[in-house]
Amino acid sequence: MTSVAEQTGTPAGTVEPPRGGARRASAWIRRAPLMPALIFMIVVTQLPFVATLVISFMDWNAYYPDEVGFAGVDNFRRVFTDVNMRDAVWTTILLTVGVVLISLLLGLGIALLLDRKFRGRGAVRTMMIAPFLVVPVAAALLWKHALYNPEYGLFNGALTRIWGLFGSDNPPQPDWISTMPLWAVIFALVWQWTPFMMLILLAGLQGRPLDVIEAARIDGANTWQIFRSMTLPHLRQYLELGALLGSIYIVQNFDAVFTITSGGLGTANLPYTIYQIFYQAHDYGRASAAAVVVVAGTIIIATFALRTVSSLFREDPGR
């Protein structure tokens, strides 16, 4: 993964000449404080990946301990021809893009609503944050059982109540998870991630140069024009940051898929599928090959993503 960092084209003017007394300090004294963290990260995150790479070329299933050996590219062939894996790739893309896009748009709308003075603004903000502070497994359980459940979930309960208001005793009682499994997962995740996007975008909105906007308004620009040509460009980097961080976390989502659908009904994403190959099928070789493929894909995407971040932080080159 080091290569990603090297490829990203570092922000301009990375290292300024050392200042003052620091010039005399040797490079190693400078590096010393960095070393524990760096070595720790390499050992804990890079070494296991090397092991994964090695195992991906091996024939290794814990159920058949006598048949461990070199498998060449067999595992990779199986990964690429496996329908489940291809479905998992699709599901992962749909899930990530769906959640990031919807929560970003909702977050933007809500941030704009909250970027005004009104009674109870702090209270609304606090209410908005709550979903993000529920432990993900707990949130997924809540959605699965207390909201989506066709018999006693809140959604169908509310439908019964509303239909009852109009004198109907035959309300629709859909089985949310069976009829739209992927959307069920997406909605639960959107609920958790919208506050995250909203917080970042709200912080961005509050950093807007208000005097310039005021001037534009006096010059006759209407609200939409101000939004299009001033607010949105200013928010661009915050939108990118939200999308990037959201993607990092949602691509890897395991909790919601595991809890709400247990990977069934076409909702198994890559982390869940690999978890299954390894934890239930105990096919270590194939699980590792799948992991290697996923990492390769991630590196390609991450290279672009990191370029985005480095452009984000260009204005803040440190010292």
Binding site: M1, T2, V4, A5, T14, V15, G20, L34, P36, A37, L38, F40, M41, V44, T45, F49, T52, I55, L112, L113, F118, R119, R121, V124, R125, T126, M127, F132, L133, V135, P136, V137, L142, A146, L154, A158, T160, R161, G164, L199, I200, A203, L210, I213, I218, L241, L245, V251, F254, D255, F258, S262, I274, Y275, F278, A287, T298, L306, D316, R319
Partner: protein
């Protein structure tokens, strides 16, 4: 959409006179109302969770919902003393989260120092290396770690989780800390150096006052992420080192009357995060944006 009307209320100073201002104020009331409705919709599932946790199982499973049913602690009683005790998992989660957070702070502060106050060569590459490890899918490292733990007898050991959680949060912490440390004014550092202040003195009297809130934000985020983690805890622990989220997964396939107990469990497990998060709302933003949003 209503987005268009949400620019700051500069309208009060609009020179175009009363009618414009009036219409604007009218729109503002509706927008405020909309904000309230959206806020209530988002908090509703949480409120429902808390309310249901205080209902009896029979009332919790009613359709239409029994909103005004009598309150009871039945669900909590059942959760804490019904079956397996939740205390060991809760304590495990607390141990793993707190100790890993401490490790993260101990490792990330010096690293961030070497990336901002006295930067090493190619410090941006190092910084991006840290972030890139965050993009590495955790499942990719899961199997070797599992095999390693199996062979060394570290399976179901809380210390293995602590090491992993430290690695999981370290990149985020390094990014945040670096951003906070780079806020320390250069002039102050130079002045301290001129006065002949040694490292300890500079750290204590120049750097600490500026970055303390940042360190708190970092700690908060690391604590929350460790407390929430499920995948590794599920694979690497069993009965002894089981954490609270793993304990919660026993509800995934529940049948029968269990909703009040489930809501009680979900609420209890989320409570530390809810308390910490609400207490430090402002720092949350800073933390989540890796320190890039002030």
């Amino acid at each position: 959409m209503s987005i268009t009307d949400t620019a700051p209320v500069a309208a009060t100073r609009d020179e175009r006179g009363r009618p414009v201002k009036k219409r604007r104020e009218g729109a503002n009331v509706w927008l405020s109302l909309l904000a309230w409705v959206v806020g209530i919709l988002f908090v509703l599932p949480v409120v429902w969770m808390v309310l249901t946790s205080f209902h009896s199982e029979a009332n919790a499973a009613q359709n239409p919902p029994a909103v005004l049913a009598p309150l009871t602690l039945e669900g909590y009683r059942e959760f804490f003393s019904g079956g397996a005790s939740p205390w060991p998992p809760l304590l495990n989660s607390l141990t793993a989260s707190i100790i890993s957070t401490l490790f993260v702070l101990l490792l990330s502060f010096p690293a961030a120092y070497a990336l901002s106050i006295k930067p090493v060569k190619k410090w941006t590459d190092v910084l991006f290396f840290f972030l890139s490890t965050k993009m590495l899918p955790v499942v990719a490292g899961l199997l070797p770690l599992y095999l390693f733990a199996q062979n060394t007898g570290l399976l179901d050991n809380i210390w293995l989780l602590i090491v992993f959680y430290t690695a999981m949060n370290l990149p985020i912490a390094v990014w945040m800390m670096r951003s906070f440390l780079s806020e320390v004014p250069v002039e102050m550092l130079e002045a301290a150096a001129m006065d002949g202040a040694n490292l300890t003195k500079t750290l204590r009297s120049v750097i600490a006052p500026v970055v303390m809130p940042g360190i708190a934000a970092t700690a908060l985020i690391c604590f929350i992420f460790s407390w929430n983690e499920l995948l590794f805890a599920r694979v690497l622990t069993a009965t002894v080192a089981e954490t609270a989220p793993v304990f919660l997964t026993s509800f995934v396939t529940s049948q029968g009357l269990f909703l009040a107990q489930l809501c009680a469990a979900a609420f209890v497990v989320s409570l530390p995060v809810l308390v910490a998060g609400f207490a430090a709302q402002d720092k949350l933003v800073q933390g989540l944006s890796l320190g890039s949003v002030k």
